[in-house]
C-alpha cells in the first residue's frame, strides 16, 4: 500500500511540475513538447531501480520506446481529429487512445520485449 502511495504522490508531483512549466511556455507548439515529457517514466523508473535493480528498469525502458512511438501516432491522430474532423478536445483525445493501444501493443507483438 505504501508503495502505491509513493507512486501516486511522486507521479502526481512530477506530472504537475511539467504541466505548470507547459502552461508558462509560449508558443503553444513549444509548450506541447511537455505533453510528451517523461513524467510518469521518471517516477516509475526511479522506483523500479530502487525496488528491482537496473536490469528490470532497462527492460521497462526498452518497451517504453514502443510506447513513445505510439504516443507520436496518437498525437498525430488527435491533431487530425481536431483540425480536419472538427471534434472537440475531449472526444478527440479519447477516440485517438485506440490508436495508442493498437500501435503500442502491435509493436510489442511484432518486436517483443528486451532480451
Amino acid at each position: 500500500m505504501t508503495e502505491y502511495l509513493v507512486r501516486f504522490i511522486a507521479g502526481g508531483l512530477i506530472v504537475s511540475a511539467f504541466a505548470i512549466l507547459g502552461d508558462m511556455l509560449r508558443p503553444k507548439s513549444f509548450a506541447g513538447l511537455l505533453g510528451a515529457a517523461p513524467s510518469v517514466a521518471l517516477a516509475t523508473l526511479s522506483i523500479a531501480v530502487v525496488q528491482h535493480g537496473p536490469r528490470y528498469a532497462a527492460a521497462e525502458s526498452w518497451t517504453m520506446i514502443y510506447g513513445a512511438i505510439a504516443l507520436a501516432c496518437y498525437s498525430l491522430a488527435v491533431c487530425h481529429l481536431l483540425t480536419r474532423f472538427h471534434l472537440a478536445a475531449l472526444p478527440a483525445t479519447v477516440v485517438a487512445f485506440a490508436v495508442w493501444l493498437v500501435v503500442a501493443f502491435g509493436l510489442l507483438a511484432g518486436f517483443g520485449g528486451a532480451a
Partner: protein, 161 residues
C-alpha cells in the same frame, strides 16, 4: 516568435485544474506499477509513455482559449480546437524526445543509475527542442518558397508590376 516563459498564464488556470492533473498523473503512475506487476515488465514499459494527462491538458487549453475569445464577444470554439491541435503537434515532436529518453536510459542504466536519469533527461530535452526547431525552420522555408512562387506567377500574368 521566440520561446517565452510567462507566469501570467498561470492566472488563467483554476485551482481544481491543478488538482485534476495531479490526480491523473498520480493515477497513471499507480496504474503503470499495477500493470507491470500483473502483466510483466514489457507491458508495463509501454505505459511509461501513456498519454495519461494529455486529454486533461488538451481540454484545459481548449477551454482557456474559448473563454478568452468569448470574453471578447466572439465564438472561441474553432480557436480552442486549433490551440489544442497545436499542443498535440508539439506532443508529437516531444515523443521523438521521449523515445530518445528511453533508448539512452536503456543503454546507460546498467553502468550508473543516476547518470542514466541525467543523460536521458538531457537527451530528451535536446531531441525534443531540436525536432521543434527543425519543423519550425522547414515550415518557414516552405512558406517563403510558396510566397515566392505566388509572386512569380502573378508577375508572369502581369497582375502585379
Amino acid at each position: 516568435m521566440l520561446v517565452k516563459l510567462s507566469s501570467s498564464a498561470l492566472k488563467q488556470t483554476r485551482w481544481y485544474e491543478y488538482g485534476v492533473r495531479f490526480l491523473l498523473g498520480g493515477l497513471a503512475t499507480v496504474v503503470t506499477g499495477v500493470v507491470s506487476s500483473r502483466f510483466g515488465v514489457s507491458v508495463g514499459g509501454l505505459f511509461l509513455a501513456l498519454p495519461a494527462i494529455f486529454c486533461a491538458s488538451a481540454t484545459l487549453i481548449e477551454s482557456h482559449e474559448r473563454r478568452a475569445k468569448e470574453k471578447a464577444g466572439l465564438s472561441g470554439r474553432r480557436r480552442g480546437q486549433q490551440a489544442a491541435a497545436l499542443d498535440a503537434a508539439g506532443a508529437g515532436l516531444g515523443s521523438i524526445g521521449l523515445a530518445a529518453f528511453a533508448a539512452v536510459f536503456y543503454v546507460v542504466v546498467s553502468t550508473t543509475a543516476i547518470g542514466a536519469f541525467v543523460a536521458a533527461i538531457l537527451v530528451w530535452a535536446a531531441v525534443a527542442v531540436s525536432a521543434w526547431w527543425l519543423r519550425r525552420k522547414l515550415r518557414i522555408t516552405s512558406r517563403a518558397g510558396q510566397t515566392e512562387r505566388i509572386a512569380h506567377s502573378a508577375r508572369r500574368r502581369g497582375t502585379v508590376p
